[in-house]
Symmetry: C2
Subunit: 301 residues, 2 copies
């Protein structure tokens, strides 16, 4: 039985940061979110890879308890992203994006995924995101959708439909400003709430995240890391760990939500400590719990 | 008897933001910091104004309990800054800076200021900042220095001397990255600590502030405002309220410091609600105390 469906890419990443370099390494939003969620619950991934995808990495994902029924094996090459980060490590510069097998991929929800209570829609074409919600057997308890500036520009109306359909929309600060044409993140969050979302979460990268409800706000700081080695996938880890914890708790009350954001920040901070998925591969739950507690001291006054 | 000496400009500001416009309004880092501090302690300002400075504004500053013995009246015009903010309201675009009477101003510490226990050095020429520390009768209990990118570029060695001399150096995130040539704010903070500062505080604008000590970190969030009307002076309000609270408490222990940062965030958030000093003029201590308590709920998990 599955707790959480993660729709997001499983990919090869070639990354260069001031601190390291990896080539054709395991990556993709579905991979990061799936691994992050796997510390808390049983996730399954909906995506596709090509015939060049290594069986070793399949086995690795399975070893984390991730269900791969929804990961289609298609003829052709796996999605490949090549990017670089400079001194301002928060800004990724995309060198190349080869969609490959994902170019015309129409995701199909496996039967065993249709009763999952939690659905995380990674940033992707908003029409595909909407279609996947329809494919679920029953409306999940919680649908969280990530979005990205590319679709805000090209399919603004559809993105707004996703905001309306999803319970929580994840955006980063510049996306929220762009979508709602306002300099104020709090005003953007308010507009999300007005559109029938119960909660709005705005991701602020190295500055953490802001949760807004109709009752008030919660600020989840980012963990102050001495060295961000590679921020690739941190946003996906944030979303995945958050959803994983919510799925484990089985409720989406505000108190649980606050803790979920801190778990999101925690796993994202670990992820940034290594190139690609390197740090996630050795990460253990007790380390996550220890850092979660450190956040208490970080904000105490 | 004075608690706190504030060295910073008293100026005219002409400001345009997406939400309003003021012309030749009272401004300057010394003004904002002085008013913010005045809610907590007795501050005095060291600066100079020209003969065009309105007596009404002098009276206003005095009515806030600010000592103006150190505010010299010089022949000529008052310092004037003209700036604009766009949709990304965190970034000021300077249209014009007329130094006027501040061009060759050599600040002289009045006798009655020399025994103050707290000294706030607004962002200015680091050589003048260093000179003012020497002018104090005895080493104050706490010297806090603000800095700015202009001097990091033109007088890097002197800025580093200020970092060494001051107990706390206030920098914003891009200044810290620039001064220490690192993408990591935590690493920048660590380098400040290594230079014989007890504490490092990095201001992150709308994202709050990060306090680092040799023992650990504290994250002070910014208050999530629905509408930032005008961010001018928020950094100065943060510094002024922080110093004012520390001067009132008379100690600089970590627990007091954490509260001081939250008071800094609180007064800065009120300041952003109005054009220029507008909101500060009507602000009352009970409003500050109420919002200070709201921060507890903002970070609770």
């Amino acid at each position: 039985m599955l707790d959480l469906v993660v729709y997001g890419s499983v990919a090869f990443d070639s990354i260069k940061t001031p601190f390291g370099k990896v080539d054709q390494a395991l990556g993709g939003s579905g991979t990061y979110a799936g691994i992050a969620a796997s510390f808390f619950c049983k996730p399954g991934i909906v995506s596709a890879v090509g015939s060049d995808f290594p069986t070793g990495e399949m086995e690795f994902l399975k070893s984390k308890g991730i269900d791969l029924t929804g990961l289609e094996l298609l003829p052709g090459k796996t999605f490949h992203w090549k990017g670089e980060y400079g001194l301002d490590i928060n800004v990724a510069k995309t060198i190349k994006t080869d969609l490959n097998v994902l170019e015309n991929f129409k995701p199909v929800m496996p039967e065993k995924y249709k009763k999952a209570g939690f659905l995380l829609l990674g940033n992707n074409d908003p029409e595909l995101q909407l279609d996947l919600v329809k494919q679920m057997g029953k409306r999940p308890k919680l649908v969280v959708a990530d979005t990205m500036n590319f679709y805000i520009k090209s399919k603004r109306d559809k993105v707004l439909e996703v905001v309306k359909e999803a319970d929580i929309c994840l955006m980063n600060d510049s996306e929220a400003r762009m979508l709602f044409k306002t300099p104020s993140l709090v005003e953007a969050a308010k507009k999300i709430l007005e559109m029938d979302s119960n909660l709005a979460i705005i991701k602020k990268g190295e500055h953490g995240a802001l949760l807004s409800t109709t009752k008030g706000s919660f600020v989840a700081p980012a963990y102050p890391l001495e060295a961000v080695v590679d921020p690739t996938g941190c946003g996906d880890c944030f979303a995945g760990a958050m959803m994983g914890f919510l799925a484990k708790e089985g409720n989406v009350g505000e108190e649980t939500m606050r803790k979920a954001l801190i778990y999101g920040s925690t796993v994202a901070s670990f992820n940034a400590e290594g190139m690609g998925t390197e740090r996630l591969r050795t990460l253990k739950l007790p380390e996550i719990e220890e850092r979660f507690l450190e956040f208490k001291d970080l904000v105490r006054f």
